[in-house]
């Protein structure tokens, strides 16, 4: 018997990355801006997205959402109340969405045609660890953090915050009650992802939404 070493240099998630690249190309060609929303369970992704969908629709934008959860279609039903087409993806125990799940949900005969959209939002499974490894073909990855979670969340989950393109602080209407240290939260986000845009929002009062929508509009225009 002889032994030898065979160089592979292969990305472990190569298949996901390749599929995500195909999706990204498809989204770019269709002119749809795709965002991947990631946070802990309970941060308020659904409430934030519900408001975003409603406000964008109010401005005449064509929007849709894919929402990932282990079980139930509760979030999809909440989001559908905005009037936007919404598709639930149940992962049945898998802790993240991957590119294949997105491709399947958007296959022919799916709930909506991406080429007829301005914005597509993907609400990931509530988890601050695993979704960071999986590219879904999105243009913008958004990390959300609520004022009730503690200002050190970015330090505890650096991978996710470091891989994000924008950060959203939710539930700002509860900031005073939680004695939320805004300056510390902003500093921690910036230590992990220097220069990242941060939006301080409340889906309840609408605070910070105008700035967020302006950012979306800008990103959409850049996409052409």
């Amino acid at each position: 018997m002889t032994t030898r070493i065979v160089e592979l240099r292969r990305g472990i998630l190569k298949k996901n990355d390749e599929l995500a690249a195909v999706l990204r190309q498809r989204f770019e060609a269709a002119g749809v801006l795709v965002l991947n929303l990631v946070s802990s369970p309970g941060t308020g992704k659904t409430a934030f997205l519900e408001r975003t969908l409603r406000e964008l629709r109010g401005r005449g934008a064509r929007v849709a959402a894919l929402v990932g959860d282990l079980e139930t279609d509760n979030d999809a039903r909440r989001l559908a109340a905005s009037g936007a087409p919404v598709q639930q993806i149940n992962t049945h125990g898998i802790c993240h969405l991957d590119a294949e799940m997105i491709a399947k949900a958007l296959a022919d005969g799916g709930p909506f045609d991406v080429s007829g959209l301005d914005y597509l939002f993907i609400e990931n499974v509530g988890n601050l660890v695993c979704p960071s490894s999986y590219d879904l073909g999105e243009r913008i990855r958004v990390a959300l953090l609520s004022v009730t979670e503690g200002e050190d969340k970015p330090l505890k989950y650096p991978t996710l915050f470091n891989s994000a393109d924008a950060a959203v602080i939710t539930k700002m209407d509860l900031a005073a009650a939680c004695e939320f240290d805004r300056a510390l939260a902003l500093k921690n986000i910036n230590e992990i992802r220097p220069g990242i845009r941060v939006f301080e929002t409340s889906a309840k009062t609408g605070a910070g939404m105008a700035e967020w929508l302006e950012y979306l509009g800008e990103a959409r225009r850049k996409q052409g």
């Binding site: 018997m1 002889t2 032994t3 030898r4 070493i5 065979v6 160089e7 592979l8 240099r9 292969r10 990305g11 472990i12 998630l13 190569k14 298949k15 996901n16 898998i94 802790c95 993240h96 991957d98 660890v129 695993c130 960071s132 490894s133 999986y134 330090l155 650096p158 991978t159 996710l160 470091n162 891989s163 910036n190 230590e191 992990i192 992802r193 220097p194 220069g195 990242i196």
Partner: protein, 123 residues
């Protein structure tokens, strides 16, 4: 806990690659895993055992090389190795988002054991 999905991907890739060497036994799989890759080594080792059981890869050793985070500082025009709690140049302390290493999730190589080829045996 996505280490099980990762272990399954490694099994798939290594099995495909090893098919080019008929009769060979994979004895070691070497990975490069960045400090920012969100993979827990102990968990991946556990999942590797579970995922390879009953397959031709059963018993193959998984060797994980952790790659520290390296950032580039434009001011110093230098790379430096840092932790994951603060993305600052370790020389001047300036914040930097220019990541040069630490996100790897890669199969570097495999070590295989092959039967002696017929020509070698007769020689």
């Amino acid at each position: 806990m996505h280490e099980l999905s990762i272990a399954a991907s490694i099994v798939e890739t290594v099995t495909e690659s090893a098919a080019a060497y008929p009769g060979a036994q994979v004895i070691e799989v070497r990975l490069r895993v960045g400090a920012l890759s969100a993979v827990v080594e102990e968990s991946l080792q556990f999942c590797w055992g579970v995922s390879t059981e009953g397959t031709p890869l059963a018993g193959a050793k998984l060797v994980i090389r952790t790659m520290p985070v390296v950032v580039h500082c434009a001011g110093c025009n230098a790379d430096s190795e840092i932790g994951v709690q603060s993305f600052r140049c370790s020389k001047c302390g300036e914040l930097t988002a220019d990541l040069r290493q630490g996100q790897e999730l890669e199969i570097e190589s495999i070590e295989i054991e092959e039967p002696e080829s017929a020509s070698t045996v007769t020689a």
